[in-house]
Symmetry: C2
Subunit: 649 residues, 2 copies
Amino acid sequence: MKTSAARSSVPVALADVQVTGGFWAPRVRQIAELVIPHQWDVLNDRIPGAEKSHAVENFRIASGQSHGTFHGMRFQDSDVAKWIEAASYSLHAVRRAETQRAIEEAVDLIAAAQRPDGYVNTFFTIAEPGKRWTDFSHGHELYCAGHLAEAAVAYLEATGSRTLLTVTEKYLAHIESVIGPGEGQVRAYSGHPEIEIALARVYRLTGEEKHLRFLRYLIEERGSQPSFLRKEPTFGYVFKDKWFDLSYHQAQAPIRQQHSAEGHAVRAMYLFASVADLVIETGDQALQRAMDDLWKSVTTARMYVTGGVGSHAHGERLSVDFDLPNHRAYSESCASIGLIFWAHRLLQITPRGSVGDVLERALYNCVLAGISLSGTEYFYSNPLAVAPSEARSREDLKHVATQRQRWFGTACCPTNIARLLASLGSYVYSTNADCAFVHLFVESDAVLRLGDRHVSIRQRTGYPWAESVHLDVNPDRPSDFTLAVRIPTWCYSPTAAVNRTPFRDLRPFVRDGYLFIRRRWTGGETLDIGFSLRAERIAADPRVRADRGRIALQRGPVVYCLEEVDNGENLEDIVLPREAPLQSDHRQDLLGGVVTISGEARRGGSRPANGGLYGPAVASISRTSFTAVPYFAWCNRVPGEMTVWVRES
Amino acid sequence: MKTSAARSSVPVALADVQVTGGFWAPRVRQIAELVIPHQWDVLNDRIPGAEKSHAVENFRIASGQSHGTFHGMRFQDSDVAKWIEAASYSLHAVRRAETQRAIEEAVDLIAAAQRPDGYVNTFFTIAEPGKRWTDFSHGHELYCAGHLAEAAVAYLEATGSRTLLTVTEKYLAHIESVIGPGEGQVRAYSGHPEIEIALARVYRLTGEEKHLRFLRYLIEERGSQPSFLRKEPTFGYVFKDKWFDLSYHQAQAPIRQQHSAEGHAVRAMYLFASVADLVIETGDQALQRAMDDLWKSVTTARMYVTGGVGSHAHGERLSVDFDLPNHRAYSESCASIGLIFWAHRLLQITPRGSVGDVLERALYNCVLAGISLSGTEYFYSNPLAVAPSEARSREDLKHVATQRQRWFGTACCPTNIARLLASLGSYVYSTNADCAFVHLFVESDAVLRLGDRHVSIRQRTGYPWAESVHLDVNPDRPSDFTLAVRIPTWCYSPTAAVNRTPFRDLRPFVRDGYLFIRRRWTGGETLDIGFSLRAERIAADPRVRADRGRIALQRGPVVYCLEEVDNGENLEDIVLPREAPLQSDHRQDLLGGVVTISGEARRGGSRPANGGLYGPAVASISRTSFTAVPYFAWCNRVPGEMTVWVRES
């Protein structure tokens, strides 16, 4: 692997981190044993009641193995690619023969669908053969190519097979010959970023500089004016309105001149993640400063408390600062996944606890909410409040599902969630020659490389429910290095002990949210971290109109919500008194085992004295109690009202 | 005028009520002297910066006096008709020669544009000559015909001229021959009700039973299944989505089977007003019961505190019960005007104070907010909260104007407001042979007919700012009759005195919200009514999610709002303590003279301890004061934030 100026550490590969227990192992296993086979069945249209996919059949048709017409979105191919990527990751956890065979079948189909010039895209092969590279706004050709390339890298890393990488390299060679700034080339870039992320991965795997050059071209060309996008038939989308302008594509200005995160949220997150890749590979400090502005824009003014991104359903867009409506939130699962990609890369540039906090916020809340506990149903959009009767009757809420769905016409989220969770192990650690960073608390066995040393780390933790993390550290030989453990911001009084000897005062050792422990590790050392986990009231910046007068409940990284099934109807009627104690309970019987938060509450407020629709206000307040469950677990019992932000008094 | 079974009183005609002073006279004069001439200029495209109208020019083209193509909406003709109607009313207040000449010009143009068969519609004459009577969903032919007929009645009543009535009668004869249940007729009804209201007026004026028959046909035919509307090209509108279904046109079921108010708010209000007309004329009790359900549906679950109707911009629709969002409110000025039309008719069937309350609520708040104090700028939509930065950046708020507009592409509201306010005098009183009802408190001189008696009533009042109403009652001869004065619901301890002798206890004399005073009136009597006007906190039904934890301020019929110009930015940060006193101040210097409400408030609530976007909640509350101004006067200084519903603690 190539190292670079701006990278302070490199993630520990998925192959080297086995998730073994705790909160995550059942989920990772569920992905491998249930979700991946189930999604393969959906992609092959074998699940009754699920929305038609046709994604595999499109490849069969494109490769001449079947007859018929293309069905689905222009980016239907990416569902297959993301599934291959997710399935490949899942092999690291469970080497399931059926999964391996299914991946091979998919890979062979893709290879067979590749045109002689390297081109791979079933929509433009079957449905619009004459229109290649004419619709960057919404055609998603580069997007699909990117997912194909990511799948190829994941497949090779999981199985050693180069089949899909060979297809990818041939396709990338074609793409890089067709698109670019040179004479006779199409001077364009992706409407929906994704290939940029893939190019960095292929570059890192192969060391081929041309992919880094093409990545740099795509990022630097973006936003040049006048924009080629304006001349495209689908620019402005079907409604041709201002919400599908250049900023929708993050093309309103060159990336170095963008200081606020704009436009389609998934596009934005993917782009910014790939800008981080370019910073990693080039050490470009000016680009890093622009990216830091964008990070600040998202995480200090345009992100939900769940780590959701994207306030608007129309255009699936980010909004202006502090416009974070709860019922209307789009908050697509994929956007939070993109935010995690971006955070993951930022942590490789400079480990900062606040970045890890955002990563965890998105992971434990928005992303995990996107998949049912059963593993077979999904949310595409993740609003922070749902009132089913209004959701069904309001056009501005037509994107809101009041119960989980088996599949979607645009099915980007299910496979995206699968690939993220299946690869969770690769988010836990990163290393450089002298230091091992612990970013996430995941029960796991890992082997880390620090320069030429190998260090085994066994992590044992009931996190996020329990507040202790135990690490067994075993280097392959006694040596000096640093172990840097992220201390989440929500933890006020962390404790740490090496070989059961507690630190008297941690503060001198904590920098930028990481606890740095430098010592000679001889083998057999233990490190015990203690977090002071407690249920807390969380407030939003007062400029967030939608959350004013409200609090959210959080315990560790987990954000909570009230559901109708626990609290009765009309959740807006519930008020949490500012001083009432909050109680946490471990409930093994509930929602697969969660910690609930409960306490005293009030129901009511002013109501019309005369009982009509409006009337002189009289206070009408009764005592009640409330029970909150983790947001990620909502809507796994009966559908009903839900709210994250609760009125406070 | 024809009397009928279901009508307990008949409104006193505009010609018989001169608005002489107080709150309303300057407004009625402004309509006559400024608004009417200004709107005529707009309709003739003589106002720079106003949206192009072309409405008069369309008639010039259709009548062969000019050349060119049709411009505007399919209902552009109705702007001219509504202007004629408004201008005619205004002549009762100010007999302005220029206005009279302009009306004559408009009337002559319309007469000249009438086709030999009686048909009058410039769109279908100029732009789509072959498509008459093929698009009832959105073609608005019957709607425009209705406005033409209303104009004809108003013009005749103001001037004695039958010119436009002759045009109308010829057109109605054509319509009634083409449309109906008979063989060879088009079995259809209006997509947008309005002709129904007009038919009742023409019937009352002319006594021609055929118009009542046609009105009955239109109302009874509506909602019969299978619906002819489904086969129309524009049914489902351009988006062909569920928000433009049969209920959009109130055609989901026969009116007798409709129990909740659905669909396009203006269509609904106009239809229900005309159902009241049919009840008035027929005494049909089953129909009245259906209509009462609809009234209850609107006024107890689907109406804003401002008397606004229509929660959704998309489809300009009513929503489900209690779904009354404030920022997103559509609350079209025209819908509130329609609600007033309906209430006005209901009061003729059975005087009920609660109906008069709704009428006043809509009049003093939503409708009056729709026109600037200057008389030249308008709101089409009347949200109950505006945050300009969000309104500009959210697609679901694209209907929200953050400042008043000079005119609109769809310009239904300006002339509608003008015709309502210019005819205000006709809403004040109604009579039967034995009783005079005082519905509104408007400084005015009126002559009422009770059977064969004439009774002069001079009303003197500073209402809605002042709490006393003084009436001088002078019958043309001493006689026994009842004076019934509406006592608004918000008034807890009304007082009354005849010839300065106070009633010791009013309660025995108050029934259904009216104070009934029966006596022998000999002439020279005075009646003094005292309302206990005070600033009050108003609460909404707890099921109104958007208003939970909030109160509105009201004083008499006037609903208040907070504006940024008085209270600083971020109005969501302001909290009104439940017990803090409210102070009312008469401010002659402000907004043309208003009463303000002010008092102590708090700013703040919980905020993140660490100052970030989200963090542990710490209380951060400071003392401040607030000033509220009447909602109708908002956005007459500098644009900015506004809110009606304020957080309460």
